[in-house]
Symmetry: C2
Subunit: 375 residues, 2 copies
């Protein structure tokens, strides 16, 4: 087994680029979020998009999560091995919907969606598998990505769900990805959102459709979910590892960043820079959203050194703000801008404590290509 | 076998997002490039970074390629199953160098590098495996990424190689990634480059180190490699599939784009846009370099419709320049900005002819995480 080979080695034995998870930090992040949810009586349903790992998911559940959130039916199938209560926070339209037939009947499944077509596709699957499937109606609270834009439209979809047995109307979901209210100075956005949610809930109540669950929150707002009156469930993902963006917006500290990419300095031939063997294929090309930071990642122990440019396999470290001058062969650890994208690039994570590789685990739900479903 | 399940199905049976390769276009691209190299007497050594597939590599060799180019030792190990002449166009510094021990002795290996440290690491590996390894000295011709910036420095490294048996000085390599001379109006850049290369070759000759091979070229300049006097070998990668950037810069036509991502429209809830299930985890977040195009991809049969924004699993189609109004459930094919990054996201490619899935194959050299090498 690959896993056994990987234990007990020093970082210098790893082929770079290699994705590292600081186990102490990850465990602290999982415990802290579970504690926050427990303290405020909010159901915690972590989104597995960040780690895509059965092992990490099991740790989240052991810490108190009520279930898991997935983005694709294939992810739900993988996570059904470790969890019996799954939310698919994405409409499984078309051929993909049939993948849900592979989720064991013992697993409770809920789906959030925003169209009549998605309801009809899902109802077909529910009937074929003779199972109840819960449905959240997704509403747009201002991000303008998905979600029904009007309360009347959302209520109409909820009625459509009610008329589509064995589907069950289970609640409403929203994603305030446009709000950056991690700090008090941006309270206004959060207050407006809370008022909008309140009006929506009143309208649902009056229509005879009180939502049992109100599922909301985002990474920037994750520690303020309790201020959104009416929200009963949160679905944070990034918190398990955190990243440069999460730290930049103030939703975690730099010391909470549990994930880094180990890279080797491979060239110092061009003055004023150093080239590492982690480029876009190892770090992703994600911007620092909503923040002033430049570059595609920063060194874990030298946050003033950023990956300023990238090719597929080259990352260019900008040395203009540091006296540090690395040599070819030196190892560095890069905290990426957006960890979810980077984990998705890898088959295997290395769990480290200090400078030792303690363990490794597969990114179980990474794969994107599936055999054709033969109906 | 997964491959057998995938043959003979209509596109609508695929779970989206799904990476498609138009086999007719790919075969035409392979044949055209082989013909160009043959016509001009340039050795063709395709870079496998674009497809990472043994099967596609074998087709390139069958069409006349003299060998293959790889970016990592792990890619070289995978490609050694189908090719006995490999160039590693990247310095294997540190633990990674030992991976070359897994390339069978019958395979000729050449490495391009730009530092004394890389020469020393490689010499250790060559001695341990009792094999000759050829070395190209990489020179910087203006891109300022890697490569020795001065001719004197390059000659010094070539001497270092000569003194490091069983390494063999095999030639010089360069990558003019900064030049966009696909069109006649930019001839000046190409002329300057050709003059610089000429001066360098004269200097190497005078130093008693005439390079047997001069390995150069890039995707933008690929059809003009024969104008770079002295170049004996080219290493194009992207040409096998092409992409939106390659078409935009004029190095291929839109009809030469063999790769697309099949996606499903999952939401039209927000007016003026349609949401597809291909986001940054399916398309990458690559800009249109050196071109005016916006967005992260364009529809194969409607190039005026671009993926204007993305989340991890959402792509937002901008419908402002079209009368087309898709419905939830509709299928679209997206040509990404940079195909190499997108292939790297997938485990499996689907080969299609027209609207039928003809075959599928693994992206053999995709994986980034390897077991620890025990020395």
């Amino acid at each position: 087994m690959v896993n056994d080979l990987n234990a007990g080695h020093a970082l210098a034995r790893l082929e770079t680029p290699a994705p590292l998870v600081d186990l102490d930090r990850m465990e602290r992040n999982i415990t802290r979020m579970a504690g926050y949810a427990r303290q405020h009586g909010i159901a915690l349903r972590p989104h597995i998009k960040t780690h895509k790992s059965q092992r990490v998911a099991a740790q989240q559940i052991a810490a108190g999560a009520v279930g898991l959130t997935c983005a694709t039916p294939a992810e739900a199938v993988v996570m059904s091995a470790v969890c019996n209560d799954l939310l698919l926070a994405y409409p499984p339209v078309g051929a993909k919907a049939e993948r849900l037939l592979s989720v064991p009947p013992s697993v409770r499944v809920t789906v959030s969606l925003d169209s009549a077509r998605a309801i009809d596709d899902l109802a077909l699957v529910a009937r074929r598998s003779d199972r109840e499937i819960g449905v959240y109606v997704e509403v747009d609270v201002g991000m303008h990505r998905v979600g029904v834009p009007t309360v009347d439209g959302a209520i109409a979809l909820a009625r459509h769900v009610r008329a589509s047995a064995p589907l069950q109307f289970a609640g409403v979901a929203f994603y305030p990805g446009h709000i950056r209210s991690t700090v008090a100075s941006q309270d206004g956005e959060l207050a407006t959102l809370t008022a909008d949610i309140g009006r929506m809930l009143v309208a649902f109540d009056r229509a005879g459709l009180p939502p049992a669950i109100v599922s909301g929150g985002s990474t920037p707002t994750m520690w303020r979910t309790h201020e959104m009156i009416g929200v009963t469930e949160m679905r944070p993902g990034t918190y398990v590892y955190n990243d440069r963006t999460t730290a930049e917006i103030g939703a975690c500290s730099w010391d909470d960043c549990a994930f880094s990419v180990l890279a080797t300095v491979v060239s110092t031939a061009v003055p004023g820079q150093a080239v590492i063997d982690a480029g876009a294929k190892a770090l992703g090309r994600e911007p620092m959203r909503g923040a002033s930071g430049e570059g595609f990642g920063a060194l874990l122990d030298r946050p003033d050194v950023v990956v300023a440019r990238m090719s597929e396999e080259h990352g260019i470290l900008d040395l203009s703000r540091t006296d540090w001058r690395p040599s070819v062969g030196d190892l560095v650890r890069v905290v990426p801008n957006h960890v979810c994208i980077v984990v998705h690039l890898n088959d295997l994570m290395y769990g480290v404590r200090g400078d030792r590789v303690d363990t490794s685990w597969p990114v179980d739900a990474r794969g994107r290509s599936h055999p054709v479903v033969t109906a």
